[in-house]
């Protein structure tokens, strides 16, 4: 789960990380009022779950409250990577002397959280890693012991020479690590961590990604979810316990299991089509899930054909068949449907489908080819 910059900053402030004040506005007038309260130059920053905000025009400096209002109105009208900007963070502009990068990522290779720090901050860290790897220090942390003081200090010395700044940075490392662990993060980033003209070390931006598997035991973090900042179809799918990702094609896919769902999308492409979505109905075979899945898919006007690919293990294919029958009785389909199912209770499922006027195949390649053909407006083979 993504959270907004202002939410991540709130979490870090509670840990004691020095962060300039900031407030969120949802209207240009709101932004103007906040800018007036701070006085001087402010930064107006889009709060949206997409990278590359700056390049997309979502981060601007405003010299006075009037300009803050004008810029906020432009930013609030933006869509960044398809997502509407509905909030801006207004914060006083800082007097920056240097910019560093500090991040923690859950690293698959070392199976540990890894600190990544670089004195070359403020820009894309992947670029720094690719072009000047010597400017990055990576330090894996054994979570059974936590971040040790000597480690925090080593990270600080990699960023600064001045001992006062090193100590300040080491303290921020501890605070960031603490926030990372308590909030169930898979990523926590301060970019940039700046030094000001007066020698303070301050976090100007913050990013946190939460491991979805943590949300059940962290209700306070789960409550930070901003559904208005997500694609509506994905919110609807999550609330129905489905994993759904919208794509640009026209073959709607309903599959059980993530690996098979990806392989099905790939096969659609292989036979010359384009998948409209990734949709995994999961392991259990509640007919209600199938009803919800069909509802979400048929709401996409791009979908020209629907493809079911079900391999029954735990999932009972007769449950899926019943779900298809119920769903299409409630909302008759306007596009053709191709059903492939095999495995647990396959014979019962086939019978249910036939009695209700559907045909089904047990062969994955055959079904995918047919769905691609139908989506193109051709006749089924």
């Amino acid at each position: 789960m993504n959270i907004h910059e202002y939410q991540a900053k709130d979490i870090l402030r509670r840990e004691g990380v020095p962060i300039p004040p900031g407030e969120v506005a949802t209207t240009p007038d709101g932004a103007e009022a906040i800018a007036r309260q701070y006085g001087g130059t402010v930064v107006v920053k889009a709060q949206v779950h997409a990278g590359g905000r700056g390049k997309a025009g979502g981060v601007k400096l405003a010299k006075n409250p009037g300009e803050a209002k004008e810029l906020a109105s432009k930013i609030l009208a933006l869509h960044i990577k398809g997502l509407p900007v509905q909030k801006v963070l207004v914060t006083p502009a800082a007097d920056i002397a240097s910019e560093a990068y500090v991040g923690i990522i859950l690293d698959r290779a070392s199976k540990k959280p890894v600190f990544m720090v670089s004195p070359a901050g403020g820009i894309d860290i992947e670029e720094v890693a690719a072009k000047t790897p010597e400017k990055i220090l990576k330090l894996p942390i054994d979570t059974r012991y936590g971040l040790q003081p000597y480690q925090a200090s080593r990270l600080g010395f990699f960023l600064f020479d001045d001992v006062k700044k090193v100590r300040a940075a080491a303290k921020i490392m501890q605070q960031l690590y603490s926030a990372f662990m308590k909030s169930g993060c898979s990523l926590a980033e301060i970019n940039p961590l700046v030094t000001t003209a007066s020698g303070d070390v301050v976090a100007l931006d913050a990013k946190m990604v939460i491991d979805d598997n943590e949300l059940d035991r962290l209700p306070d973090i789960a409550a930070l979810r901003d559904e208005s900042a997500e694609a509506p179809s994905e919110v609807q799918a999550r609330n129905a316990n489905l994993t759904f990702i919208k794509l640009d094609g026209n073959v709607g896919c309903v599959v059980n299991g993530a690996g098979l769902a990806m392989a099905t999308m790939d096969l659609v492409k292989f036979y010359g089509g384009d998948p409209a979505n990734f949709l995994d109905i999961g392991g259990s075979s509640n007919p209600e899930k199938v009803v919800n899945a069909l509802k979400i898919i048929t709401e996409d006007p791009n979908v020209k054909a629907i493809l079911f690919n079900i391999f029954g293990g735990i999932t009972r294919t007769d449950d899926v068949a019943n779900g298809i029958v119920t769903a299409t009785k409630q909302n008759p389909l306007k596009v053709p449907i191709v059903i492939r199912l095999t495995g647990t209770n396959e014979e019962i499922a086939m019978k249910i489908l036939q009695e209700n006027g559907f045909s089904a195949s047990s062969d994955m390649d055959e079904a995918v080819k047919k769905a691609v053909e139908l989506a193109k407006g051709g006749k089924a083979a």
């Binding site: 859950l106 698959r108 662990m181 898979s186 690996g259």
Partner: protein, 289 residues
């Protein structure tokens, strides 16, 4: 022969009285797996289906039965504790089926299991099956048949699809292992490839990877430098957009890393067969056996 489990494996079920645990224990018993004990704290006086004694702790279960394998069906927030308990009790093979285990929990569990000298498979995996001998987990027994193809995969139903196609074409399996779709798991592709290379009854390996991470690239390097047996690979997620978690927590392209194209290129560079579709495994493996 087989890898990791065979007909001598003696198995404990952690979470045997739960919905999933009880259902799959029946399936495993039906398949012939030697389930010797169940563990559910507080139910240590009961017997499951008049056949399997239940204990309060894994330590009690191991002391009474000498079991060497454990399979875990407990809810995600209790899975880390269950794995630690099994490793601490001396169980040597721990199979964690549970989906949704917090990844930070696994950062504590993984080094502990290693230090205890145990092997963990999963979490978030379908387990494993050595056809005709034993099944530990949830892979449907009827789609498998004994033979000499080793199967290893990050997925569940995609594994079933490929195994089903192999069985239909008369290609039986030595062992099928689902290593799971999480970013941190106990056993990776290389662990399984090394075991298949050492297993005299495995003649070829079918490997199903997916987007995210570098496990497949490392595996390709292992195939090239350490293996004599032929390996055929497949990568799911060629059409997946970057930055999105495709169901599995681990199936995500981060920035430009972990794409299907880069993994397929690694397979090709290692001289492996590359299946473009699941059905392609049949011909590619036949040609190499």
């Amino acid at each position: 022969m087989s890898i990791f489990i065979d007909k001598s494996s003696t198995v404990i079920v952690q979470g045997i009285t739960g919905r999933d645990g009880s259902f799959h224990t029946k399936q495993m018993l039906e398949y012939g797996t030697r389930i010797v004990a169940g563990v559910t704290p507080g139910k240590g006086t009961l017997t499951f289906e008049n056949a399997v004694p239940i204990f309060n702790t894994v330590a009690d279960a191991v002391a009474a039965t000498g079991a060497n394998t454990s399979v875990i069906y407990v809810p995600p927030m209790f899975a880390a504790d269950a794995i630690l308990e099994a490793a601490d009790a001396g169980v040597k093979l721990i199979v964690a089926i549970t989906e949704g285990v917090p990844v930070l929990d696994m950062t504590r569990v993984y080094p502990f299991v290693k230090e205890k000298g145990a092997r963990l498979i999963g979490p978030n995996c379908p387990g494993l099956i050595s056809p005709g001998q034993s099944k530990v987990g949830i892979i449907p027994g009827r789609i498998c048949t004994p033979g000499s193809v080793g199967v290893v995969s990050r997925s569940g139903t995609l594994t079933y699809e490929v195994v089903y196609q192999l069985t239909r074409a008369g290609l039986g399996q030595s062992t099928c292992v689902g290593i799971g779709g999480d970013p941190i798991n106990g056993t990776n592709f290389i662990d399984c490839l090394a075991a298949f290379e050492a297993d005299p009854n495995t003649k070829a390996v079918a490997m199903m990877g997916e987007i995210g991470g570098t496990d497949e690239q490392d595996a390709a390097d292992f195939v090239k430098t350490k293996m004599k047996k032929p390996v055929v690979g497949f990568i799911a997620g060629q059409t997946a957009p970057p930055g999105r978690r495709m169901g599995h927590a681990g199936a995500i392209i981060s920035g430009s890393a972990g794409t299907a194209a880069e993994k397929i290129a690694a397979f090709e560079a290692a001289g492996m067969g590359v299946a473009k579709r699941p059905i392609d495994f049949v011909e590619l493996i036949k040609a190499r056996m």
